[in-house]
Symmetry: C2
Subunit: 347 residues, 2 copies
């Protein structure tokens, strides 16, 4: 047995040397390397883009085919040893209970801890043992029995006792966004912050984080009146404006009208393609755009900013910032408006 | 005639409101809006990825078909009103002479100035008038007669008199990289800087910029011995190491062995896919990765860093930084090693 690597490299079965996330197939053996942790899985939370792709592919006569979607997920996990949709490249996260802790694990977990994994399913060795019998294939929330492996360098967070599990999970799913937004906002002196997709999960947390971190003025951008009403009622943003983020001029003008000028920090939280140019155009010279949307095109962002001669810093939204889960929970606990937006989504 | 917009929006012919770079088709009318400039085109410099794609598509029996490539370029420009390869999405740049300056142009150009455009061909209205009769379709350098339009917010740089035109053009083509590298390096206290693809155009300029901006130690990473020899002879990097950047562990270990640990700043200048994980893994906690490669995958970078629990800042390499062309020229003039690497590539 080869030595373990904190990145999980020792479980990659591909011929080429690649990290687990880039691998075609992972080793899902149950026995742990000394720095690993095994989780008894309770629930998978599929990435929204991945679930929608599976639903579209398996629609019959325009209607979703839950059995087909379930078979597809089982097939992906059995083939790859992880839940990574080959089309979208995305995965999701999982909730479960710590089943065994290797003697050299640095994660600080104990057997019996109820945890959510904060690294993607795209790199987590996973075995499903119940054929997903408890899932109808019609929701991103997948009850499942099986096990998953965490590496030395993985991240898992204990699920808070004072919050319902689904709420805690939904917050953890997007907890990188508020933490990184706060860090960027703190780098400016009382900046104007615009959050595109402000009524969503990562968007509402980012708006609250921006205000807490010292933003002078926050603008939440949403595409439809119903979302504008919800966001206004939640009291998370100083201004709420309606704009299609794919229309760069409309976006720029809507933010400028609300804030009296361009944003110093623009946060893109809306999962539709084609928002790069608008985000750049909405941001002042010397400002920063943070892209959290997985629909972001690297080349559209790079060429777009160059083409506009825009001196803006563009960040790839890293889902990991130290302390991110605790920080997001703190915001949720102290801000009823954010909590109401989350609870509404959970239905 | 509608009013002009500094972004060039007034020349977009699409039904949807999009910026010129995202547009299918641009208005190439010769008459200028008041803030525009018209350039008499002398030469196009096609983006390398675009040219290779055209060459592959038009190969006959494994050999390039220059006539086919030329017809393809003419067809793209005639159809779209700009040279943007529909497959790669990329364009290139152009050299020419200022033919007319609108009364409200803010670019500071005068009729007769010889300039290179520093915004991409993907958003530059272009008409070719000579059928590319002087081009054999076998090189990225395309002699051409025709005209192009610059908008209020475009960037064009005068070609320096003291450098051969092709050398000046090659430097301008990548001048965003050294300027942004210098800015990031200055944000650290004597950092270790690794440049992946250090022997290339943007790579060698970035290495020289990093040293000039206060790097304690610079490491150039190259894939083959011949490039290592060239880079060593040029004296641009403190250390030159061999590694395949697609192999994350090999990359991490090679840089750590040379620099005594991870890099504080990692600059990705090599145009092959799959370098995201390695670049993240090579970078210390609190460090920065700058992606200049158009082959970068946004989701691979975002999910890769999250999966490694890597607290690194990841920047989309913006091709525009104020003063970037002058800064790159300054480096070239004062560093014979960088100049020799450029001249070797120009043949």
């Amino acid at each position: 047995m080869r030595a373990s690597d904190p990145t999980g490299l020792h479980r990659v079965l591909d011929d080429r040397v690649v990290l687990p996330q880039a691998a075609d197939r992972l080793d899902t053996r149950k026995e742990l390397w000394p720095d690993e942790v095994r989780i008894r899985v309770e629930r998978l939370n599929l990435d929204a883009a991945s679930f929608r792709q599976l639903e579209r592919t398996h629609a019959v006569g325009g209607r979703g085919d839950g059995d087909g979607v379930r078979r597809a997920v089982l097939d992906i996990v059995a083939t790859r040893g992880k839940m990574q949709n080959p089309e979208t490249g995305s995965g999701g996260m999982l909730v479960g209970t710590v089943e065994e802790v290797g003697p050299e694990s640095p994660l600080g977990l104990a057997v019996g801890d109820r945890v959510a994994t904060l690294v993607s399913l795209t790199l987590t060795p996973l075995v499903i043992e119940d054929g997903l019998a408890g899932w109808d294939g019609r929701s991103e929330q997948v009850p499942a029995d099986g096990y998953a492996i965490l590496f030395g360098r993985s991240i898992a967070a204990k699920i808070p006792d004072d919050l319902p599990a689904d709420l805690g999970l939904a917050v953890m799913d997007v907890c990188g966004a508020p933490a990184l937004t706060a860090r960027v906002v703190q780098g400016y002196d009382a900046p104007v912050v615009a959050v595109i997709g402000g009524a969503g999960k990562s968007g509402s947390l980012s708006l609250a984080a921006a205000r807490r971190a010292g933003a002078k003025h926050t603008v939440g951008v949403v595409p439809v009146q119903a979302e504008a009403d919800l966001l206004t009622a939640a009291g998370v943003a100083d201004d709420v404006v309606l704009a299609d983020a794919r229309d760069p001029i409309a976006l720029r003008d809507a933010v400028a009208a609300a804030a009296g000028g361009p944003a110093d920090v623009t946060v893109v939280c809306v999962d539709v393609p084609g928002c790069e140019g608008g985000a750049v155009l909405t941001t002042a010279a010397g400002g920063t755009v943070i892209f959290f949307s997985m629909a972001t095109s690297f080349s559209a962002a790079a060429l777009g900013a160059e083409g506009l001669a825009a001196d803006v810093t563009m960040l790839v939204g890293n889902g990991y910032v130290p302390g991110h889960a605790d920080y997001a929970m703190e915001i949720l606990r102290e801000h009823d408006g954010v909590r109401s937006l989350f609870e509404r989504r959970l239905g």
